[in-house]
């Protein structure tokens, strides 16, 4: 009798429960706890691996896509890029790390004021204190979770490289600056959208050069310093290339290797290095023509559905990002569709037909991994920012180039506001 009930529970009832209810049920008795912790059930209910793609907004914020190994797997997931549980509408993804997302309100291109850290699987969210206007309208955010007990959000404005840093154990935004070596800007540019890794690292691929600039927001040693790394040689200089960087599975923090891919009209290469930027080894190389012969469905998209069109459209084959846990899979955009490419099988698996990702670049792609158990957002200490009610305390002014004294004063100010 118990067998029937257990199976009924695990197959039919528990998967239908929302996350909070499921966790509460597991506290109700040992039996329910055991059911909820069963590896097969927990994997199906909580586990996710894939990438979010947040297409560029023009007038209004666009809904993100979640891409995973196949469209079948995607259909089986309990959520598909659904941010509607967040209190604001019009929120878009800025970064992803450790099973959590950093989201912000897209304000028609004006600086964002409200940022959130959330877990799209458990639907838990935390609002960060309001952000004052940034020094530039170009910016990106990096979220990192340290030891499961605290998290940090770094907002980098560029090309001016000012930072505003939020830490969950101070509950404040503080200003910093990236220290650049002298003459840096004469040789390198930060004026391109960087690819963001889960390790809290940003990578600016230098146009027309086989180099990338790397900035790790968690490196305490050099006070947020910047590195230059070498990339594998471009196949044909001057020919339009679509280049992409990614961190390998388990790549938490710089120094654990990197993955790189580029594609132009004729060839598609994948490279890997075990130490960031050194000793790139070519993992795969395939000609686009051969790939299209092996994958006729993809070929129709490359010719834009016109069999009479001669060669492929220029620059149309765009590697978007690497699958975060399955290093055989790379996500590729073609006109009108997005695919999962398997390096081992040389197959292009159609994931979705859409035109929304046509202008997407690797900078719009956020690898996302959620384990087989619920990930909790580290609590924000001393927080007047409750989950349910966002009290308007006015923005905390954070001027650029402030000294330590001023930072102390702000902290005292915030504390007295709390009491």
């Amino acid at each position: 009798m118990d067998v029937v009930c257990d199976t009924l529970m695990v197959e039919e009832i528990l998967p239908r429960l929302p996350p909070k209810s499921l966790v509460r049920l597991s506290a109700a008795s040992r039996r329910y706890n055991a059911l909820a912790l069963r590896p097969d059930f927990a994997a199906r209910y909580w586990q996710r691996a894939g990438v979010f793609v947040q297409p560029d907004e023009e007038e209004k914020p666009k809904i993100p896509f979640f891409l995973t190994v196949s469209d079948v797997e995607a259909a089986n997931l309990g959520f598909v890029a659904d941010l509607t549980f967040l209190p604001d509408s019009g929120l878009v993804i800025a970064h992803s790390a450790a099973g959590l997302l950093l989201c912000y309100n897209y304000n028609n291109g004006i600086n964002p004021t409200h940022l959130y850290v959330c877990n799209p699987v458990t639907r838990q969210w935390v609002a960060l204190p309001e952000l004052s206007p940034l020094s530039s309208s170009y910016w990106f955010g990096l979220l990192t979770v340290v030891g499961g007990t605290r998290f940090q959000v770094v907002i980098v404005t560029w090309p001016l490289h000012d930072l505003v840093v939020f830490s969950s154990d101070t509950s404040l935004w503080e200003a910093r600056q990236i220290l650049l070596p002298p003459y840096f800007c004469d040789y390198y540019t930060l004026d391109v959208s960087p690819v963001l890794g889960q390790s809290g690292t940003s990578y600016w691929i230098q146009p027309d050069e086989d180099k990338a600039i790397v900035y790790n927001s968690t490196s305490a040693a050099h006070n947020y310093s910047i590195q230059v790394i070498n990339l594998p040689p471009q196949y044909i200089i001057g020919c339009e290339q679509n280049r992409c960087l990614g961190e390998p599975h388990g790549g938490g923090g710089g120094g654990l290797g990197l993955r790189y891919t580029h594609a132009n009209d004729s060839v598609f290469e994948v490279w890997e290095s075990e130490v960031v930027g050194f000793e790139w080894k070519q993992r795969d190389k395939v000609s686009i023509a051969v790939l299209m012969e092996l994958n006729p469905e993809a070929a129709t998209f490359l010719r834009n559905g016109d069999p009479a069109a001669g060669s492929s459209l220029h620059g149309a084959f765009t590697p978007l990002g690497f699958h975060p846990t399955d290093d055989d899979v790379i996500f590729v955009a073609l006109p009108g569709a997005v695919f999962a490419y398997s390096i081992g099988h040389r197959t292009l698996n159609l994931l979705q037909r859409t035109h929304e990702l046509e202008s997407a670049t690797p900078a719009d792609v956020f690898p996302y991994v959620h384990p087989a158990y619920p990930v909790q957002i580290p609590p924000v200490k001393n927080s007047s920012i409750r989950q349910e009610s966002r009290t308007k305390r006015g923005s905390i002014e954070v001027p650029v180039n402030e000294g330590i004294e001023q930072r102390k004063r702000l902290r005292d100010q915030a504390c007295s506001q709390d009491s």
Binding site: M1, V3, V4, C5, T7, L8, E11, E12, I13, L14, P15, R16, L17, P18, P19, K20, S21, V23, R24, L25, S26, A27, A28, S29, R30, R31, Y32, N33, G78, T122, Q124, P374, Q376, I377, P379, Q387, E388
Partner: protein
């Protein structure tokens, strides 16, 4: 693909020799149904395939009045190849059940398994009972005894504080 029994092999072929399966309700009433009809529930079908169905399948969650209504629906549905989705005589859906959780505090938690219209693989959260449902339909009610020690419950609540807020 059949939207109502959620299988690809919904096969209402008449003239097939029907194998009968016995379903036993919580008040020990036996209902003989055709294997086809009973197989509309994935769980029951698994049991049949695993050979566990001899002697009848006990359904301690379901009273005889509820089971009777469910079987009426399943029988009607198993016999037809094109289910009439708009049929108002379909009172209760087939395999779909929805668990309704009472607030979890220390002590017993009430879990109601309510038969609801099978609305696809994931039942929408706000799924309401079918309008056609008999107002007097029984609900199977469970009382769950909390066999955790208080400190164990506390541990779970702490580890997942987000789920116990509000």
């Amino acid at each position: 693909f059949c939207e109502i029994c959620l299988t690809n092999n919904c096969d209402g072929s008449a003239g097939k020799i029907a194998t009968m399966i016995a379903l036993v309700s919580s008040d020990n009433e036996r209902f003989e149904v055709s294997e086809e009809a009973a197989s509309q529930s994935q769980t029951i079908r698994n049991m049949i395939e695993d050979g566990c169905a001899d002697g009848g399948i006990p359904l301690p969650n379901v009273t005889s009045s509820v089971l009777a209504k469910v079987l009426e629906y399943c029988n009607k549905h198993a016999a037809t190849t094109t289910p009439d989705a708009a049929s108002t005589e379909a009172v209760i859906g087939s395999a779909g059940t929805r668990a309704v959780l009472g607030p979890a505090r220390h002590g017993p938690v009430v879990l109601r398994a309510v038969p609801c219209r099978a609305a696809g693989r994931r039942c929408p959260e706000g799924c309401r009972l079918d309008e056609g449902q008999d107002a007097g339909a029984d609900q199977a009610t469970f009382k769950i005894e909390n066999d955790f020690r208080p400190e164990d419950v506390e541990k779970i609540r702490k580890e997942n504080a987000w789920a116990f807020e509000e």
